[in-house]
Amino acid sequence: MAHRGGGASHSDEGGGGHGGNDRPWVYFMIDSFFLCTQFFVVTFKIKSDEIVLPQRLPPGGTAMARQVAVDAKKKLSVHVSPAGAGAAYQFMQREVDLAGFNEMLASSTGGGVEYQVRVSYEPDVRWEHVIAVFNACSKAKIAECGLIPLRGRDAAP
Protein backbone atom coordinates (compact mmCIF):
# COMPACT_ATOMS: atom_id res chain seq x y z
CA MET A 1 0.00 0.00 0.00
CA ALA A 2 1.24 3.43 -0.75
CA HIS A 3 2.49 5.76 1.90
CA ARG A 4 -0.44 7.59 3.37
CA GLY A 5 0.33 9.75 6.30
CA GLY A 6 3.16 12.09 6.89
CA GLY A 7 3.23 15.77 6.97
CA ALA A 8 5.90 16.24 4.38
CA SER A 9 4.71 17.76 1.21
CA HIS A 10 5.45 15.84 -1.93
CA SER A 11 3.83 18.29 -4.24
CA ASP A 12 7.06 19.17 -5.95
CA GLU A 13 8.33 15.64 -6.45
CA GLY A 14 7.13 15.36 -9.98
CA GLY A 15 4.33 12.97 -9.12
CA GLY A 16 1.48 15.18 -10.11
CA GLY A 17 1.19 17.46 -7.11
CA HIS A 18 -2.16 18.49 -5.82
CA GLY A 19 -1.59 22.07 -4.94
CA GLY A 20 -2.57 22.60 -1.32
CA ASN A 21 -2.92 18.90 -0.47
CA ASP A 22 -0.10 17.04 1.29
CA ARG A 23 -0.43 13.95 -0.88
CA PRO A 24 0.32 13.91 -4.55
CA TRP A 25 -2.11 12.23 -6.94
CA VAL A 26 0.39 9.58 -7.83
CA TYR A 27 -0.17 8.05 -4.38
CA PHE A 28 -3.86 7.70 -5.04
CA MET A 29 -3.01 6.06 -8.32
CA ILE A 30 -0.61 3.64 -6.67
CA ASP A 31 -3.21 2.76 -4.04
CA SER A 32 -5.88 2.22 -6.65
CA PHE A 33 -3.53 0.20 -8.82
CA PHE A 34 -2.56 -2.11 -5.96
CA LEU A 35 -6.16 -2.59 -4.89
CA CYS A 36 -7.23 -3.34 -8.46
CA THR A 37 -4.37 -5.82 -8.81
CA GLN A 38 -5.32 -7.41 -5.52
CA PHE A 39 -8.91 -7.66 -6.71
CA PHE A 40 -8.00 -9.35 -9.98
CA VAL A 41 -5.56 -11.73 -8.31
CA VAL A 42 -8.17 -12.84 -5.79
CA THR A 43 -11.01 -13.20 -8.26
CA PHE A 44 -9.07 -14.69 -11.15
CA LYS A 45 -9.85 -18.31 -11.80
CA ILE A 46 -9.03 -20.56 -14.69
CA LYS A 47 -12.46 -21.97 -15.17
CA SER A 48 -13.82 -24.08 -17.95
CA ASP A 49 -17.56 -24.09 -18.43
CA GLU A 50 -19.37 -27.33 -17.86
CA ILE A 51 -20.70 -28.89 -21.03
CA VAL A 52 -23.27 -31.60 -21.58
CA LEU A 53 -23.68 -34.62 -23.80
CA PRO A 54 -27.36 -34.85 -24.75
CA GLN A 55 -28.91 -38.31 -24.97
CA ARG A 56 -32.38 -39.71 -25.24
CA LEU A 57 -33.22 -42.68 -23.04
CA PRO A 58 -35.75 -45.31 -24.01
CA PRO A 59 -38.73 -44.41 -21.79
CA GLY A 60 -40.01 -46.83 -19.19
CA GLY A 61 -36.74 -48.23 -17.91
CA THR A 62 -36.67 -51.93 -18.65
CA ALA A 63 -40.20 -52.07 -20.09
CA MET A 64 -40.37 -54.59 -22.94
CA ALA A 65 -42.85 -52.48 -24.90
CA ARG A 66 -40.01 -50.37 -26.24
CA GLN A 67 -38.75 -53.28 -28.33
CA VAL A 68 -41.51 -52.71 -30.88
CA ALA A 69 -40.33 -49.19 -31.56
CA VAL A 70 -36.67 -50.05 -31.99
CA ASP A 71 -36.92 -53.24 -34.04
CA ALA A 72 -36.57 -51.37 -37.31
CA LYS A 73 -33.04 -50.29 -36.46
CA LYS A 74 -29.87 -52.30 -36.75
CA LYS A 75 -28.65 -53.12 -33.29
CA LEU A 76 -25.04 -53.03 -32.25
CA SER A 77 -23.98 -54.30 -28.88
CA VAL A 78 -20.97 -53.30 -26.90
CA HIS A 79 -19.93 -54.70 -23.57
CA VAL A 80 -17.71 -52.66 -21.29
CA SER A 81 -15.56 -54.44 -18.73
CA PRO A 82 -12.82 -53.14 -16.45
CA ALA A 83 -9.26 -53.73 -17.62
CA GLY A 84 -6.67 -52.42 -15.19
CA ALA A 85 -7.06 -48.66 -14.89
CA GLY A 86 -9.01 -48.49 -18.11
CA ALA A 87 -11.72 -50.49 -19.78
CA ALA A 88 -12.04 -53.09 -22.50
CA TYR A 89 -14.80 -52.86 -25.10
CA GLN A 90 -16.16 -56.05 -26.60
CA PHE A 91 -17.59 -55.11 -29.95
CA MET A 92 -18.25 -57.33 -32.95
CA GLN A 93 -16.57 -60.35 -31.37
CA ARG A 94 -13.42 -58.39 -30.69
CA GLU A 95 -12.03 -56.88 -27.52
CA VAL A 96 -10.57 -53.46 -28.15
CA ASP A 97 -9.62 -50.33 -26.26
CA LEU A 98 -11.51 -47.05 -26.58
CA ALA A 99 -9.57 -45.83 -29.60
CA GLY A 100 -10.13 -49.14 -31.34
CA PHE A 101 -13.81 -49.04 -30.48
CA ASN A 102 -14.14 -45.52 -31.86
CA GLU A 103 -12.53 -46.60 -35.13
CA MET A 104 -14.61 -49.75 -35.45
CA LEU A 105 -17.84 -47.93 -34.70
CA ALA A 106 -17.13 -45.18 -37.20
CA SER A 107 -16.11 -47.59 -39.94
CA SER A 108 -18.96 -50.03 -39.41
CA THR A 109 -21.83 -47.58 -39.16
CA GLY A 110 -21.10 -44.98 -41.82
CA GLY A 111 -23.90 -42.43 -41.51
CA GLY A 112 -25.16 -44.00 -38.33
CA VAL A 113 -28.79 -42.91 -38.37
CA GLU A 114 -30.23 -46.37 -38.89
CA TYR A 115 -28.23 -47.88 -36.04
CA GLN A 116 -28.92 -48.34 -32.40
CA VAL A 117 -26.22 -49.10 -29.89
CA ARG A 118 -26.87 -51.06 -26.72
CA VAL A 119 -24.32 -50.82 -23.98
CA SER A 120 -23.90 -53.50 -21.37
CA TYR A 121 -21.33 -53.29 -18.60
CA GLU A 122 -19.90 -54.89 -15.49
CA PRO A 123 -21.10 -53.43 -12.17
CA ASP A 124 -17.64 -52.08 -11.32
CA VAL A 125 -17.06 -50.26 -14.58
CA ARG A 126 -16.47 -46.58 -14.05
CA TRP A 127 -18.95 -44.08 -15.47
CA GLU A 128 -16.25 -42.38 -17.55
CA HIS A 129 -15.78 -45.57 -19.60
CA VAL A 130 -19.48 -45.84 -20.39
CA ILE A 131 -19.97 -42.17 -21.25
CA ALA A 132 -17.06 -42.68 -23.65
CA VAL A 133 -19.36 -45.02 -25.60
CA PHE A 134 -22.10 -42.35 -25.69
CA ASN A 135 -19.48 -39.90 -26.89
CA ALA A 136 -18.36 -42.30 -29.63
CA CYS A 137 -22.00 -42.77 -30.67
CA SER A 138 -22.48 -39.01 -30.87
CA LYS A 139 -19.36 -38.79 -33.01
CA ALA A 140 -20.71 -41.52 -35.30
CA LYS A 141 -24.08 -39.66 -35.50
CA ILE A 142 -25.91 -42.48 -33.72
CA ALA A 143 -28.70 -40.87 -31.75
CA GLU A 144 -30.04 -43.99 -30.08
CA CYS A 145 -27.63 -45.33 -27.53
CA GLY A 146 -29.13 -47.12 -24.55
CA LEU A 147 -28.02 -49.13 -21.58
CA ILE A 148 -28.73 -52.77 -20.91
CA PRO A 149 -29.38 -52.91 -17.17
CA LEU A 150 -27.46 -55.23 -14.90
CA ARG A 151 -29.05 -58.52 -13.95
CA GLY A 152 -29.05 -60.46 -10.71
CA ARG A 153 -27.64 -59.18 -7.46
CA ASP A 154 -26.40 -55.89 -8.89
CA ALA A 155 -29.63 -55.07 -10.71
CA ALA A 156 -31.37 -51.82 -9.83
CA PRO A 157 -34.44 -52.44 -7.65
Binding site: R4, G20, N21, R23, Y27, F28, D31, S32, L35, C36, Q38, F39, V42, T43, K45, S48, D49, E50, I51, V52, L53, P54, Q55, R56, L57, P58, P59, G60, G61, T62, R66, A69, V80, Y121, E122, P123, D124, V125, R126, W127, E128, V130, I131, A132, F134, N135, S138, K139, L147, P149, L150, D154, A156, P157
Partner: protein
Amino acid sequence: MSMSPPEETKVEVDMVPMIDIITLLLMFLVVVGDMAASANTIQMKLPRADQALTDKEMKEKGFRLEGRIVVQLQPVDKTHPEGHYSAIINNKPYALEVQGSGKQLIEYLDDQVNYNVNKGLAKKDSTGAVDMPVKLRIPEDAPMREVERVIMSLAKVGMVNVHYASEPFAKAK
Protein backbone atom coordinates in the same frame (compact mmCIF):
# COMPACT_ATOMS: atom_id res chain seq x y z
CA MET B 1 -9.78 48.28 13.36
CA SER B 2 -9.63 46.40 10.13
CA MET B 3 -12.20 43.84 9.20
CA SER B 4 -10.77 41.01 7.13
CA PRO B 5 -13.04 38.50 5.45
CA PRO B 6 -12.92 35.00 6.99
CA GLU B 7 -10.51 32.67 5.26
CA GLU B 8 -12.13 30.25 2.93
CA THR B 9 -11.47 26.71 3.97
CA LYS B 10 -11.09 24.20 1.18
CA VAL B 11 -13.23 21.13 1.64
CA GLU B 12 -11.81 18.17 -0.22
CA VAL B 13 -12.96 14.62 -0.35
CA ASP B 14 -10.19 12.15 0.35
CA MET B 15 -10.56 9.59 -2.39
CA VAL B 16 -8.19 6.94 -1.06
CA PRO B 17 -10.33 5.53 1.78
CA MET B 18 -13.32 5.59 -0.54
CA ILE B 19 -11.46 3.64 -3.22
CA ASP B 20 -10.20 1.21 -0.58
CA ILE B 21 -13.66 0.62 0.81
CA ILE B 22 -15.33 0.28 -2.57
CA THR B 23 -12.71 -2.14 -3.83
CA LEU B 24 -12.81 -4.26 -0.69
CA LEU B 25 -16.59 -4.29 -0.83
CA LEU B 26 -16.47 -5.32 -4.46
CA MET B 27 -13.99 -8.07 -3.69
CA PHE B 28 -16.16 -9.32 -0.87
CA LEU B 29 -19.27 -9.37 -3.07
CA VAL B 30 -17.51 -11.10 -5.94
CA VAL B 31 -15.98 -13.77 -3.71
CA VAL B 32 -19.20 -14.37 -1.76
CA GLY B 33 -21.31 -14.25 -4.92
CA ASP B 34 -19.08 -16.81 -6.58
CA MET B 35 -19.33 -19.07 -3.54
CA ALA B 36 -23.10 -18.69 -3.48
CA ALA B 37 -23.35 -19.52 -7.17
CA SER B 38 -21.36 -22.69 -6.75
CA ALA B 39 -23.10 -23.71 -3.53
CA ASN B 40 -25.59 -25.80 -5.49
CA THR B 41 -22.88 -27.43 -7.52
CA ILE B 42 -20.97 -30.23 -5.91
CA GLN B 43 -17.32 -30.24 -6.76
CA MET B 44 -16.61 -33.40 -8.68
CA LYS B 45 -14.38 -34.69 -11.43
CA LEU B 46 -16.58 -35.14 -14.45
CA PRO B 47 -15.82 -37.42 -17.39
CA ARG B 48 -14.58 -35.88 -20.62
CA ALA B 49 -16.50 -35.93 -23.87
CA ASP B 50 -15.43 -34.16 -27.03
CA GLN B 51 -18.94 -34.26 -28.48
CA ALA B 52 -20.47 -32.40 -25.54
CA LEU B 53 -22.11 -29.04 -26.12
CA THR B 54 -22.35 -25.83 -24.18
CA ASP B 55 -25.79 -24.58 -23.16
CA LYS B 56 -25.56 -21.95 -25.90
CA GLU B 57 -24.85 -24.58 -28.56
CA MET B 58 -27.70 -26.69 -27.19
CA LYS B 59 -30.12 -23.80 -27.59
CA GLU B 60 -28.92 -23.17 -31.13
CA LYS B 61 -29.53 -26.83 -31.98
CA GLY B 62 -33.06 -26.62 -30.62
CA PHE B 63 -32.64 -28.51 -27.34
CA ARG B 64 -34.99 -27.47 -24.61
CA LEU B 65 -33.28 -26.22 -21.47
CA GLU B 66 -36.18 -24.56 -19.66
CA GLY B 67 -37.15 -26.22 -16.40
CA ARG B 68 -34.09 -28.46 -16.44
CA ILE B 69 -33.59 -30.42 -13.23
CA VAL B 70 -30.01 -30.98 -12.12
CA VAL B 71 -29.40 -34.34 -10.49
CA GLN B 72 -26.01 -34.87 -8.92
CA LEU B 73 -24.58 -38.14 -7.73
CA GLN B 74 -22.55 -38.06 -4.55
CA PRO B 75 -20.99 -40.79 -2.43
CA VAL B 76 -22.48 -40.84 1.05
CA ASP B 77 -20.46 -43.63 2.56
CA LYS B 78 -16.98 -44.00 1.18
CA THR B 79 -16.12 -46.75 3.66
CA HIS B 80 -18.84 -49.01 2.32
CA PRO B 81 -17.24 -51.77 0.23
CA GLU B 82 -19.63 -51.20 -2.65
CA GLY B 83 -19.80 -47.44 -2.19
CA HIS B 84 -23.21 -45.99 -1.54
CA TYR B 85 -24.29 -42.98 -3.50
CA SER B 86 -27.23 -40.65 -3.19
CA ALA B 87 -28.77 -38.21 -5.63
CA ILE B 88 -28.62 -34.53 -4.69
CA ILE B 89 -31.23 -32.15 -6.07
CA ASN B 90 -31.29 -28.55 -4.84
CA ASN B 91 -29.00 -29.51 -1.97
CA LYS B 92 -31.37 -32.20 -0.75
CA PRO B 93 -30.32 -35.85 -0.77
CA TYR B 94 -32.55 -38.55 -2.21
CA ALA B 95 -31.95 -42.26 -1.84
CA LEU B 96 -31.41 -44.31 -4.98
CA GLU B 97 -33.14 -47.29 -3.45
CA VAL B 98 -35.55 -47.99 -0.61
CA GLN B 99 -33.57 -46.98 2.44
CA GLY B 100 -34.93 -45.87 5.84
CA SER B 101 -37.54 -43.14 5.88
CA GLY B 102 -35.78 -40.79 3.43
CA LYS B 103 -37.44 -39.84 0.20
CA GLN B 104 -36.48 -41.81 -2.84
CA LEU B 105 -35.26 -40.21 -6.05
CA ILE B 106 -37.94 -41.87 -8.12
CA GLU B 107 -40.70 -40.47 -5.88
CA TYR B 108 -39.32 -36.95 -6.20
CA LEU B 109 -38.99 -37.24 -9.97
CA ASP B 110 -42.47 -38.66 -10.29
CA ASP B 111 -43.88 -35.74 -8.27
CA GLN B 112 -42.02 -33.28 -10.49
CA VAL B 113 -43.29 -34.91 -13.68
CA ASN B 114 -46.88 -34.97 -12.45
CA TYR B 115 -46.70 -31.35 -11.29
CA ASN B 116 -45.23 -30.10 -14.57
CA VAL B 117 -47.61 -32.12 -16.73
CA ASN B 118 -50.64 -30.98 -14.70
CA LYS B 119 -49.53 -27.35 -14.89
CA GLY B 120 -48.99 -27.63 -18.64
CA LEU B 121 -45.26 -26.94 -18.30
CA ALA B 122 -44.34 -30.31 -19.83
CA LYS B 123 -45.96 -32.77 -22.18
CA LYS B 124 -46.13 -36.53 -21.98
CA ASP B 125 -46.35 -38.44 -25.25
CA SER B 126 -48.02 -41.77 -25.97
CA THR B 127 -44.86 -43.72 -25.05
CA GLY B 128 -44.76 -42.07 -21.62
CA ALA B 129 -41.82 -39.83 -22.49
CA VAL B 130 -41.90 -36.39 -20.90
CA ASP B 131 -40.16 -33.46 -22.59
CA MET B 132 -38.53 -32.26 -19.36
CA PRO B 133 -34.75 -32.07 -19.58
CA VAL B 134 -32.54 -33.43 -16.83
CA LYS B 135 -28.88 -32.68 -16.33
CA LEU B 136 -26.98 -35.53 -14.73
CA ARG B 137 -23.77 -34.69 -12.93
CA ILE B 138 -22.02 -37.96 -12.26
CA PRO B 139 -18.42 -38.25 -11.06
CA GLU B 140 -16.21 -40.06 -13.54
CA ASP B 141 -15.26 -42.75 -11.02
CA ALA B 142 -18.84 -43.63 -10.03
CA PRO B 143 -19.48 -47.35 -10.52
CA MET B 144 -22.12 -48.28 -13.07
CA ARG B 145 -24.21 -50.17 -10.52
CA GLU B 146 -24.95 -46.80 -8.86
CA VAL B 147 -25.24 -44.80 -12.07
CA GLU B 148 -27.72 -47.29 -13.46
CA ARG B 149 -30.07 -46.69 -10.53
CA VAL B 150 -30.27 -43.00 -11.37
CA ILE B 151 -30.72 -43.56 -15.09
CA MET B 152 -33.35 -46.23 -14.51
CA SER B 153 -35.26 -43.92 -12.16
CA LEU B 154 -35.30 -41.24 -14.84
CA ALA B 155 -36.41 -43.64 -17.56
CA LYS B 156 -39.14 -45.10 -15.37
CA VAL B 157 -40.80 -41.73 -14.81
CA GLY B 158 -40.42 -40.87 -18.51
CA MET B 159 -37.64 -38.31 -18.19
CA VAL B 160 -35.77 -39.42 -21.26
CA ASN B 161 -34.21 -36.13 -22.28
CA VAL B 162 -30.94 -36.48 -20.40
CA HIS B 163 -27.91 -34.22 -20.53
CA TYR B 164 -24.78 -35.83 -19.13
CA ALA B 165 -22.47 -33.21 -17.64
CA SER B 166 -18.88 -33.48 -18.73
CA GLU B 167 -15.66 -31.56 -18.84
CA PRO B 168 -14.49 -29.82 -21.98
CA PHE B 169 -12.08 -31.80 -24.06
CA ALA B 170 -9.80 -30.71 -26.85
CA LYS B 171 -12.03 -31.13 -29.87
CA ALA B 172 -10.74 -33.57 -32.45
CA LYS B 173 -10.16 -31.99 -35.84
